[in-house]
Structures are given as C-alpha cells and as structure tokens.
C-alpha cells in the first residue's frame, strides 16, 4: 500500500459487502499482493459479526437520555433505608433472642458483624394487629438458602409489655411442605436477628412466615 494506493479505503466497504462485483474482484486481486490492505481487512473482519447482533434499528440508535430527576434521590433513599436497618440490628443488645434451634438450622442471634454489609431486607407483611415487625432476606447458597431475619417486638404499654413471646420462623415450600427454621423468645422492645440455613432452594420457597407457637401466622413474606 503506497500513499497513493487507490484501494486504501476499500477495506470497510469490502467487509460490509457493499462493493460491486467488479470492484470486489479487483480488490481481492489487490489483496494478494498488498500486505497493508490485507492487514486492514483482517482488522475489520470481525465487525460484521458484531453488527449482526444488533436488532435492525427501527427508530434510530440509542442516545443516552436523561434519566428521571427523581432517580438519584429515590435510590439514595433506598441506600439509606438499608443502612438504617443494619444499624438497628447492630445496635441491638446481644443475647436477647437466643433461639432454640431446629435440625438443620444454625442460629446466630447476635448483633450483626460490622462487615460485610448485608443487602437490605424486605419487610414482612403483617397478617393482623400484632405488635411485631420483621424483615428478612434470602440468599441463595450452594447448599440451599440462607435466611437472614430480624424481628422486633413492641408491646407498648399494655400489660403484656413485660412478658416475652415465643415465635417460630417457618419456611413454606412451593410443594406445600412446612418446616420450622427456628423458634425464639421475643422480648419487648428488642430486635432479634436470626441467620438460619435451609436446604431448600430459593426457587422452591413460597414464603417465610413468623408464627406463634400455637401456629397462628403473624407475618409473612411471599416470594412470588
């Protein structure tokens, strides 16, 4: 390829298949003798394959648009919400909710370690007027699912406020099976955090429930 090589700009039209048959033949003949042009074609040879992955443009190619103005404030709020929950858990005194642990569960009713930061949990839905609230998250693991639940009990000024209550965390499978993951004694104005494993995969879990020891569901987190 010399400075005046008439074929110097043919490479792209060639790989795109836009040359006329005559030009194509001339260019291919030229490529046999011109290393520079041959190397230029090799550089571009993969481009049609990449272009082929694009849906033919209907309404033009994407231009980066401006996302809604409320996006950043919204997402920062969600960051802070997750952080507040973690802080609340960390601040909770230890030993409040030492649980009677069942079969495959391992209960760690301890203040959260400072790291790594846990993803925000999802609030469980109250199924009636109960003085309790909870949030949980599920993380898929190789062996099944890790459930991370925090539950706080606030009986206010009622006569029950000085008593604790027994709660059970159960997992409901999509096939209808119900397994107890943990039971614990919830004390007023405290938050229990329970990290427990189940061999069920997240996809097999329909819901988590917190029940009374009599079996009344108090809170539920549906997974679909």
């Amino acid at each position: 390829m010399t400075v005046n090589d008439p074929f110097i700009t043919y490479d792209a039209a060639y790989v795109l298949g836009a040359l006329s048959p005559e030009e194509r033949a001339d260019y291919e003949k030229h490529l046999r003798d011109c290393d520079a042009c041959a190397s230029a074609v090799r550089e571009l040879a993969g481009m049609p394959g990449l272009l082929a992955q694009v849906d033919p443009p209907v309404s033009g190619f994407p231009q980066a648009g401006q996302p809604p103005q409320e996006l950043l404030p919204d997402v920062l709020r969600r960051v802070r919400r997750g952080r507040r929950l973690r802080n609340a858990i960390t601040a909770t005194s230890a030993g409040v909710a030492v649980a009677a642990c069942v079969a495959l569960g391992v209960v760690a009713a301890l203040p959260a370690p400072t790291s790594p930061p846990a993803p925000p949990s999802t609030a469980m839905t109250l199924l009636g007027q109960f003085p309790v609230q909870a949030a949980a998250r599920l993380v898929q693991e190789d062996w099944g699912t890790q459930v991370d639940m925090s539950c706080s009990y606030d009986a206010g000024e009622t006569r029950e406020s000085h008593e604790g209550r027994d709660y059970v965390l159960v997992v409901v499978g999509r096939d209808g099976t119900v397994a107890n993951l943990a039971t614990w004694l919830a004390l007023p104005s405290n938050t229990a955090r329970i990290v427990v494993g189940t061999t069920m995969k997240p996809a097999d879990i329909q819901a988590l429930e917190i029940r009374s020891t009599k079996g009344t569901p108090l809170l539920r987190l549906s997974l679909s």
Binding site: I8, T9, Y10, D11, A12, A13, V15, L16, G17, A18, L19, S20, E23, L44, A45, G46, M47, G49, L50, L51, Q53, V54, D55, P56, P57, G60, F61, P62, Q63, A64, G65, Q66, P67, P68, E70, L71, L72, D74, V75, L76, R78, V79, R80, R83, P117, P119, P120, S121, T122, A136, R137, L138, V139, Q140, P202, I205, L221, S222, L223, S224
Partner: protein, 170 residues
C-alpha cells in the same frame, strides 16, 4: 463517615452509568418509564451492594450492569417485591465476548453506533443494515462513491474503537 462514603459510591454509579442504563431500561421495558426506573434503581442498588463495579474498567462495568438490568427486566421484577432479594449479589460473568450474553452485546454495539457521528452512522446503516451497495449509497447520500468508501473506512474504525472502550471485542 461510612454513610458519606456509601452515598458517594451510589452518586458515582449514578453519574457514570445512569444515563446509559436508562436508555437500555427503556428499551427493555418497551418504553415503560415506570418499569424502566424500577429496573435502573434495582440495577444501581445491586451494583452498590456488590461494591466493586466502579473498580472495573468502564467497559466491563457497563456490560455487568446491562446484564443485571436485563435479568431484572426479564424476571418481571416488581418494585419492592421479595423476589429481588432472593437473587444473590454476586457479580455475573464479566466477559461478554464469548457470546453468553448476545443480547447485552448487541445492545452495546447499538449503543456504540449511537455514539458515532451522524455521517458515520448513516453510512453504516445504509451499507450494512439496509444492504445498499456503495453506488446506491452514494446516490442516496448525494456524494461520490469514493466518499462512501472513505466514510465506511473511517466509520468502521471509529466503531471498533468505541467498542474496544466498552470492552466488546470480536
């Protein structure tokens, strides 16, 4: 102190990627702005949780984010639904060049085309997507055939550069 740092991480993610994610999310949701915002929010949150997205090169970070956004959109993720919490925050595969996520790669190529100059883009659209010959494209554009050849020559190289920046290789 930590709170400021966490906010700063999210602000940086937003600054760097929100506009591109927004375009992609609108595409994924067929222009549904409500769902698109959900997809972008959830994608940014997962990036924020996983923490190291900003440490990757811009190109591979973009591919990571698009892959996550696409999954979220496809899963029919709904705002504040529990399902999103089931998914681990583990980063998906970073490489997209092996064809495992063609849809994402296709989007990156489309996005790269969108970043070209109008002249470069139009000549590639004509000669590749619409199958024009050099001669037909010259008539259509009202320029000499030699101009069409040199425009495709520069346009394809410009595209290649943009794609390399995005971590897309052949």
């Amino acid at each position: 102190m930590k709170e400021v740092a966490e906010d700063a991480l999210m602000r940086a993610l937003h600054e760097e990627h929100a506009a591109a994610l927004w375009s992609y999310a609108l595409y994924l949701t067929s222009g549904d702005r409500i769902r698109a915002e959900d997809v972008v929010q959830e994608t940014l949150l997962r990036a924020w949780r996983s923490g190291d997205v900003l440490d990757q090169s811009q190109g591979s970070a973009r591919a990571w984010l698009f892959t996550v956004a696409r999954r979220i959109a496809i899963d029919g993720w709904r705002s504040a639904s529990a399902r999103s919490e089931v998914v681990t925050a583990a980063p998906p595969e970073r490489a997209v060049a092996d064809g495992t996520d063609r849809a994402v790669q296709g989007w990156l190529v489309a996005e790269a085309l969108g970043e070209l100059s109008v002249r470069h883009r139009e000549v590639l659209v004509l000669c590749y997507f619409q199958g024009y010959s050099v001669a037909d494209a010259a008539v259509r554009l009202g320029v000499a055939e030699g101009t069409v050849k040199s425009r495709t020559h520069y346009a394809l190289r410009a595209l290649r550069l943009v794609l390399e920046e995005k971590g897309v290789t052949q």
